[in-house]
Symmetry: C2
Subunit: 349 residues, 2 copies
Amino acid sequence: LRYKSQFLYPTLQSCCCRTIHSDAKPKDPFTLAQKDLTSLYDDIKKELFVSKEELKSLCDYYFDGKGKAIRPMIVVLMARALNIHSNRAGDLIPGQRSIAMISEMIHTASLVHDDVIDGSDKRRGKKTINDVWGERKAILAGDFILSAASMALARIGNNTVVKVLSQVIEDLVRGEFMQLGSKENENERFKHYLEKTFKKTASLIANSCKAVSILVNSDPEVHEIAYQYGRNVGIAFQLVDDVLDFTSGANHLGKPSAADLKLGLATGPVLFACQQFPELHAMIMRRFSSDGDVDRAWQYVLQSDGVQQTNYLAQRYCEEAIRQVSMLRPSPERDALIKLTELVLTRDK
Amino acid sequence: LRYKSQFLYPTLQSCCCRTIHSDAKPKDPFTLAQKDLTSLYDDIKKELFVSKEELKSLCDYYFDGKGKAIRPMIVVLMARALNIHSNRAGDLIPGQRSIAMISEMIHTASLVHDDVIDGSDKRRGKKTINDVWGERKAILAGDFILSAASMALARIGNNTVVKVLSQVIEDLVRGEFMQLGSKENENERFKHYLEKTFKKTASLIANSCKAVSILVNSDPEVHEIAYQYGRNVGIAFQLVDDVLDFTSGANHLGKPSAADLKLGLATGPVLFACQQFPELHAMIMRRFSSDGDVDRAWQYVLQSDGVQQTNYLAQRYCEEAIRQVSMLRPSPERDALIKLTELVLTRDK
């Protein structure tokens, strides 16, 4: 297949690393991170402390502790694994804990603005902020969460960390912009999709992992391992998300299926399907805007092996993530990060 | 008058500082800052360098060099005055120049979002970004300019500066939120208005002045002088802006007069007028939303001495700004900062 050229797997190397490690059964990542995650949302709310009652309820709305907390969980586990790798106690240092919080805050701020931009009325089974409070206040709430995250970032007091996480905010905006205007030709399209996926999803995870490394280790190779684990898991996570948009019912995911098609977005499954059904090309170009496009595209995708191929690609990224993190000294947290890639691949919501 | 209680002038002290200094005729602030400002907008555009042509045109739209550039001008003059005060060469160090750019970028990002929030279609005689490109792209453009500003801020490499300017971003959002929901009782209203004015306008100027001081001086008293000059000039600047909304025609200011009333906002002139014409109270409470409210409120303001009182208040803030900056060692730039307060008070657009 055409898309399986080297640009798809820029850092992938052949490996069979699933068998390298983990003689003992790895602990469940959620269980292992729980200690640090328990009070995380309370701390975020303290961070967002504001006197105006309404602004407070807006900002707290998504920090209800009901999210998957996948980002802070990865950051917490990576921080512990890195601390052990660096001959320190496993426990998080305060700056690392802040980074876990900041990663979730930046993510949430970008969701709030994305929902305004997409005009979405549902997210995680709840009404969106723009649906409940209106667009104006949703824009402000996003700005506010982001500014609170910047304040918390500044307080960590490490310039390299500030740079690394500022890059994330820029990537998120550039990624969203790429998503709005994806009018590239067919050959460029997959590359564009993966770049957008990196910027919108993986950059935050990759750079947060790098940031917790910077705080306890001076070896750039270790930072790179942390970064590459986050980058590869992040891309895999989004690829699976894009698959679930086709395979998961509305009740399950908390948002209507084929939401991406409805927004005019061609993700992995459609791009792979287009290789088998060139009829999709014109629909992709007009962003599924003609009557019946969404349904027809959906049918083509289900008839194609687009879903399977996207899952396969996600699996390859997870393998690379495992290869990277396996270079760290063994620890329960390292093994939980390996285990986590399985959960990323097999989740159904 | 009731409003002239101590909370209005928390830092004002009796002074006659206009005569303390300046034996020679001070240079025009614009002329003096010109050298540093000339290439500033080009540098901002480089900062916003992006490959996507459209994102670029959006971000460049307001950095056309046609604005008053009042913020970077104050920052540049303050930096030079502080350098001389601190026994350094007057020329800006790179970090100070970055702060001048960042101040204008943060300001512009907040304008872009404010225009979306207010649904404004005109700004500085141009169509707004949301009017030309739509709301979605305007939200993103604001986010992007802000993220570029954060990146530039991180590159300065001084943690205290990062904290000081992150505070500005938070203040801007809180100020805008205060403006959306000003339902305070009559006694609280003026205090609320001044606090909003500080957060939305003066915080950026005050903290930028403080930031350029931090880079060259270790004396907190000097930082405080810089901060207080910026704070007082900033509040005066906004008070005059609020007056001009009543006294300046649409052709002049590039935006329709009484824009604030139309947005439901009660600024200085209305709040003072309400003391003479209690009929305004109900209109303020319903945010001038009933038919004819805007016209009637406008008439009351013109019949009252609200404009005069607001101007008088702005003058008091300028006097305090002069008192503060006069504590710096004499320099052409210091005197230009003094001269600038006159321009703030007498500008008619």
